[in-house]
């Protein structure tokens, strides 16, 4: 498909732009196929796919790191990893999974789905959107180059001071980590501002906030958390950079510093971050459950409100990560109560999901199984979470495997299962073919069995006192009988490999769907009988998303166009139109002359300058200047280039007809 096209009534062949008149320094890129069409794209759908592919790649990297850790701990006195390598491995496992898998995966869904769900043709700032993705990709690559340049970061993903100072970690690993997170932070911040403005300003006519699909709502809350949490970690990372690279003493106890400053800054960011990781998945299952229960979401306003409440209260609980640090009794009591309070809105959501399924005609598709899996597994993780909210109990659990068990149940059992539900649910929408349900069920069951085998025993291991982050355990202290650490460590390691196998089945499923002899046929238009606006498009959606800007009158607009409440007693909905018919009406009334924002070179150039500057901080200050000059030039190029190519860039040029311009500026 052409990147710039002007479909008009009666003439549906896309008109391709010619790279003639331009206001930027270069002629605009106009490639509509091949790798260049991806490199310079500003299409939210392509960017969403690139986010997703990159995130899934790093999921494999992080998974490999996890398997190495579990292989090391499968038996006593493991020898697969050295102590030093083990430290790098668990640090990078967490960093990869949090910053390079779950966050960008949520960004992938948000980028792809938000404009479709609100009936827009792109995000508010398409070029900034591309910039966010390239920042994320370059930042992620930058962090991982540390493996080849003297060793990766080894201080844990929370990088507690003063352990993160040069004397305790003399390699450049932590520098790479800090600067890399800074770059991916730029990606998150710009992406979040972009998506918030998109949701506020680009909803289709009639789509009020309380008619917005629930995934968009949850993603909206997450973007607010990002906008306000990222600057906090930015401060912390700058202090760390000045400490490590420019000899400041912000966290040096001998110089009179308070290492707890790092912990506060980190967790003021880190706790909202936890909700940044989980809320997108909550949004996904809130979309999946109603579709496969054939019922509307139970208590939509409550789900919206509890999501917002989680986001808000999430700012007042950060110190529960620090109960063992000597905060003083008053602080501990206050944060303990606040933490218990946050269980309420979370519980509300669980009840809403259960009530959505209650009395519904349940269809146990793979997506539905993953969604139900999330409810069950997340609830288990939530319950162990409440035991940490009780400070005296937490003091006993701090730094043991019990904590590891808890956050893997909420993150893997919550966030990751939600992501997989979303992948199976939206795969036909995004790629036009359906993943195999048979393989999907293998994928689901292996993952769920694997996750319970891997993380379940960690509760026991932890309560028995095995500390986190120890690279070996010894037979002499393993205990006896049911509570023998060796037995449960082995089970846990086997479980991790079962889990890994389940994940591989997903990738096999993807391969089989699109390539090979058993390639799946094109997916039907509306395979799940879905409810929200993104399904009112072709599979995959056209470049312009919607033939006609939809006018919205209901929550679950697409459902209400397919079904009507015929009976006076509101007994039930009767089908009035098929998805094909609904779409045919839109196509027949297509808007003419849609201006899509035009591709640009500048986002990728600007993003590329950031890792150059980051290498400069570590190796040579001159590189910072080089990167700075690129930044400056790219910004000028960007500023001088109109977001949408002027009419002279189009072929044929505008004939002065109705001109529906997209409200895009970025």
């Amino acid at each position: 498909m052409a990147l710039i096209e002007r479909p008009r009534t009666g003439d549906l062949t896309p008109a391709v732009a010619t790279p003639e008149a331009t206001y930027g320094a270069f002629r605009r890129p106009v490639h509509s196929t091949g790798w260049k069409s991806w490199l310079f794209t500003i299409d939210h759908k392509k960017i969403g796919i690139m986010y997703g592919v990159t995130a899934l790649f790093f999921f494999l990297v992080g998974g490999l790191e996890a398997l190495l850790i579990r292989a090391q701990l499968a038996g006593p006195n493991g020898t697969i990893l050295s102590a030093d390598m083990y430290n790098q491995m668990f640090t990078m496992h967490a960093t990869t999974m949090v910053f390079l898998f779950v966050m960008p995966m949520a960004a992938a869904f948000a980028n792809y789905l938000i404009p479709l769900q609100i009936g827009a043709r792109d995000v508010a700032f398409p070029r900034i959107n591309a910039f966010s993705f390239w920042c994320f990709l370059f930042g992620a690559i930058f962090i991982n180059t540390s493996w080849l340049l003297g060793g990766a970061a080894d201080g844990g993903w929370f990088m507690y001071a003063p352990n993160s100072s040069v004397p305790f970690s003399p390699t450049n690993g932590i520098d790479f980590w800090g600067l890399g997170i800074q770059i991916t932070g730029v990606a998150s911040l710009t992406g979040a501002i972009n998506l918030i403005v998109t949701v506020i300003n680009m909803r289709a006519p009639g789509m009020t906030f309380m008619k917005m699909p629930i995934f968009t709502w949850m993603a909206f809350v997450v973007q607010f958390l990002l906008v306000f949490a990222i600057p906090v970690i930015t401060v912390a990372l700058f202090l760390l950079m000045f400490q490590r690279s420019f000899d400041a003493t912000f966290f040096t106890v001998e110089a009179g510093a308070d290492p707890l400053l790092w912990q506060h800054l980190f967790w003021i960011f880190g706790h909202p971050e936890v909700y940044i990781l989980i809320l997108p998945s909550f949004g996904i299952v809130s979309e999946v459950l109603p579709v496969f229960s054939k019922k509307p979401l139970f208590g939509y306003p409550l789900v919206v409100f509890s999501g917002a409440a989680i986001g808000f209260v999430g700012w007042g609980v950060w110190a529960h990560h620090m109960f063992a640090s000597g905060l003083g009794p008053i602080s501990v009591a206050v944060f303990s109560v606040a933490t218990m309070a946050i269980a309420i809105p979370t519980g509300v959501k669980i009840v809403n999901w259960t009530m959505t399924m209650w009395g519904g005609k349940l269809v146990f598709s793979t997506a539905m199984l993953f969604a139900i899996g999330l409810i069950v597994q997340f609830t288990i993780g939530g319950l162990s979470g409440v035991t940490h909210a009780v400070a005296p109990s937490d003091t006993q659990q701090t730094d043991t495997y019990y904590i590891v068990a808890h956050f893997h149940y909420v993150l893997f059992g919550g966030a990751v299962l939600g992501i997989f539900a979303g992948l199976y649910y939206w795969w036909p929408k995004i790629f036009g073919r359906m993943l195999s349900e048979t393989l999907g069920k293998w994928n689901f069951w292996l993952m769920v069995i694997g996750l319970n085998m891997a993380f379940g025993p960690m509760h026991i291991i932890g309560l028995q006192g095995q500390p986190r982050r120890m690279y070996v355990w010894t037979e002499a202290r393993a205990g006896e009988g049911f509570f023998n650490l060796g037995f449960w460590n082995l089970i846990s390691s086997i479980g991790a490999f079962v889990l890994g196998f389940g994940v591989l089945i997903f990738f096999y499923n993807v391969w089989r769907t699109h390539f090979g002899r058993h390639k799946a046929p094109p997916a039907p238009l509306d395979p799940w009988d879905a409810r929200s606006l993104e399904w009112m498009t072709t599979n995959p959606p056209k470049e312009i998303n919607f033939d006609r800007t939809p006018v919205v009158s209901h929550l679950d607009e697409f459902f209400h166009r397919k079904y009507e409440d015929r009976g006076d007693d509101h007994a039930g909905y009767e089908p009035v139109a098929t998805a094909e018919e609904v779409l045919a009406i839109e196509e027949a009334n297509a808007d003419d002359d849609v201006h899509l924002p035009s591709p640009s070179y500048w986002p990728i150039i600007l993003a590329f300058a950031l890792p150059i500057m980051a290498y400069g901080v570590i190796y040579n200050i001159l590189l910072i200047a080089v990167g700075g000059i690129i930044v400056l030039l790219a910004m000028f190029g960007w500023a001088l280039e109109p977001a949408t190519a002027p009419d002279s860039d189009y072929d044929p040029p505008s004939d002065g007809g109705t001109d529906l311009e997209l409200p895009t500026h970025g």
Binding site: Y23, I196, I200, L239, T249, G256, R548, A639, P663
Partner: protein, 209 residues
């Protein structure tokens, strides 16, 4: 239904010619929403830096603490300069709304000049402190002070570059989109830098440690 949509869109198009705006759900400009959101986000950045300074302001060597090194009359003068640059910025914005390019450029240039004067004052102040023996790594107080005011100084410098860029782009008529809005956006950023200094001036300089 389709007729209504097309009709309304056509009506909107006339509108568009008048205001240079686009249809949005709230009728507000995307750029301005993004700028305010960015400034909201910046509050947490400067909040963190100010808190770090507050925590560490008392941790210094005996004779090189805040109360010993501050030169209040000098800093008051440079604060005054920055405060007045907010006035000239406002005048630039109102001129831009009148589409008076010449006056806009004059006030933008004056604002950039005042901003540069403030940065120059900060460089001078840092030099004096450094000569008195207060290096970046001398104490926790000095590190956190230089970090906080340095971040603010970088923000002012970026603002000056933006102001000059806008002046150049107005002269060469190279601003894509709404000129008055571009000036207004730079103005919002500039005022934000000013209000951060209002906080720093009182909290860091005037209140004794």
């Amino acid at each position: 239904m389709a007729d209504t949509a097309v009709h309304a869109a056509a009506g909107h198009d006339d509108h568009h010619a008048d205001h240079g705006g686009h249809y949005t759900s709230t009728g507000l400009s995307n750029n301005k929403l993004a700028m305010w959101l960015f400034l909201g986000s910046e509050c947490l950045l400067f909040g963190g830096l100010i808190s770090t300074y507050m925590l560490y302001r008392g941790r210094h060597t005996a004779n090189l603490g805040p109360d010993q090194v501050w030169d209040i009359p000098f800093t008051s003068a440079s604060s005054f300069v920055l405060l007045m640059s907010s006035l000239t910025m406002v005048l630039a914005v109102t001129a831009a709304k009148r589409r008076d390019d010449r006056t806009t450029n004059v006030w933008l240039s004056v604002t950039a000049l005042l901003g540069s004067l403030f940065v120059a004052g900060q460089v001078y102040e840092f030099t004096v402190f450094y000569r008195e023996g207060l290096g970046y790594t001398t104490s926790l107080f000095s590190s956190s002070f230089y970090t906080l005011t340095g971040f603010h100084g970088v923000h002012v410098t970026v603002g000056v570059i933006m102001l000059l860029a806008v002046v150049g782009m107005i002269i060469r008529n190279r601003i894509p989109g709404d000129k008055a809005e571009v000036v207004e956006l730079v103005g919002l950023y500039w005022h934000f830098v000013d209000i951060v200094w209002i906080l720093i001036f009182t909290l860091v300089y005037l209140i004794p440690a």
